[in-house]
Symmetry: C2
Subunit: 189 residues, 2 copies
């Protein structure tokens, strides 16, 4: 997606070998008119797939999934990272390993909102090591729903999480894939 690449080059800030901050438009400030283009693009990319529900994880997937939901015209559900008063006790769980915190944590989705009849598209902001997608896939599998694919806005191809998940059969599409950020220079596939 060309406009995405331009935004990454113009607004992205590379920090160290693997961190790309795109918080001016994707995950702190939200450029909602651009996210609307992103949602439209996901719909185009997955136009051949039947989708009854979009699944993402809090926090940074929510805005992307919500706006994409308008284009797919299906409900969106987001898995939660913490047990809260407002979450049902009866949940599907997925396990996610956090490389920054060096620990596993659970993401949870109320069983009310996913069933074996659902055809699920997972959406998220980043794909790096693939941990979030793995946790979300686990939720879909536990529910008995059908996983139709996963869309990510930015894939950090040099962290290879996507390679492994594709080998395992997940249909993953990235709107931009970064192959290298060495010395602050971003190279796309």
């Amino acid at each position: 997606m060309d406009r995405l690449k331009v935004k990454i080059i113009e607004e992205g800030r590379v920090s160290g070998p693997s961190i790309l901050k795109v918080d001016s438009f994707l995950n702190h400030q939200l450029d909602v008119s651009f996210l609307n283009e992103v949602g439209k693009e996901f719909k185009e990319v997955f136009k051949d797939k039947e989708v009854t529900k979009i699944l993402t994880a809090e926090v940074s997937g929510i805005a992307i999934a919500a706006i994409a939901g308008l284009h797919f015209q299906v409900p969106v559900v987001f898995a939660k990272k913490s047990q809260s008063l407002n979450l049902d006790h009866d949940t599907y769980e997925g396990e996610v390993y956090s490389f920054t915190k060096e620990q596993h944590f659970k993401i949870r989705l109320s069983k009310r909102y996913l069933s074996k009849e659902d055809k699920v598209l997972i959406l998220d902001d980043f794909l790096a090591n693939g941990e979030a997608l793995k946790g979300l896939r686990q939720i879909v599998e536990t529910s008995g729903a059908t996983l139709q694919g996963a869309g990510v806005v930015i894939e950090k191809g040099f962290q290879h999480g996507g390679d492994k998940l594709r080998e395992e059969g997940m249909d993953i599409r990235a709107l931009a894939t970064i192959m290298s950020m060495e010395e602050g220079k971003i190279t796309f596939r």
Copy 2:
């Protein structure tokens, strides 16, 4: 907003004297076509106010604010609850008291994304004790921006947070105001 009241009656689940679960459409599963109506309604309600930026807090305000942003055609920013690798160190801070956790916590917004030229509309899902709005107002005030008002989807009027904030001059509009949930029966203003 009549359709909101119908959804609260039909889908809301009252738990104890003060908890209303609306996670089928507002804050776990997202009925995005309904949230699009909510966004349109906020735009109508605040049509006389100049707004350059919408501010909300993670997690449950994000989808509402993002979709409303499409109607206001302005960027959305969300304050974060945790320090993370991806958040700048230079932030505006607001303090929020959590009644459920009985402790104060900070919400933070990068100084890059709010300035004294901004005219800010705060949006959130619930207004109960008013703690989230207070924390968000503190961020706006610290930045020097102008607070134009606050919109909430559901106000729990019997918890009186809104009364205090309106006395202090905040222009708050709720799309539905619940006056009582006694014995599981929801009464609107």
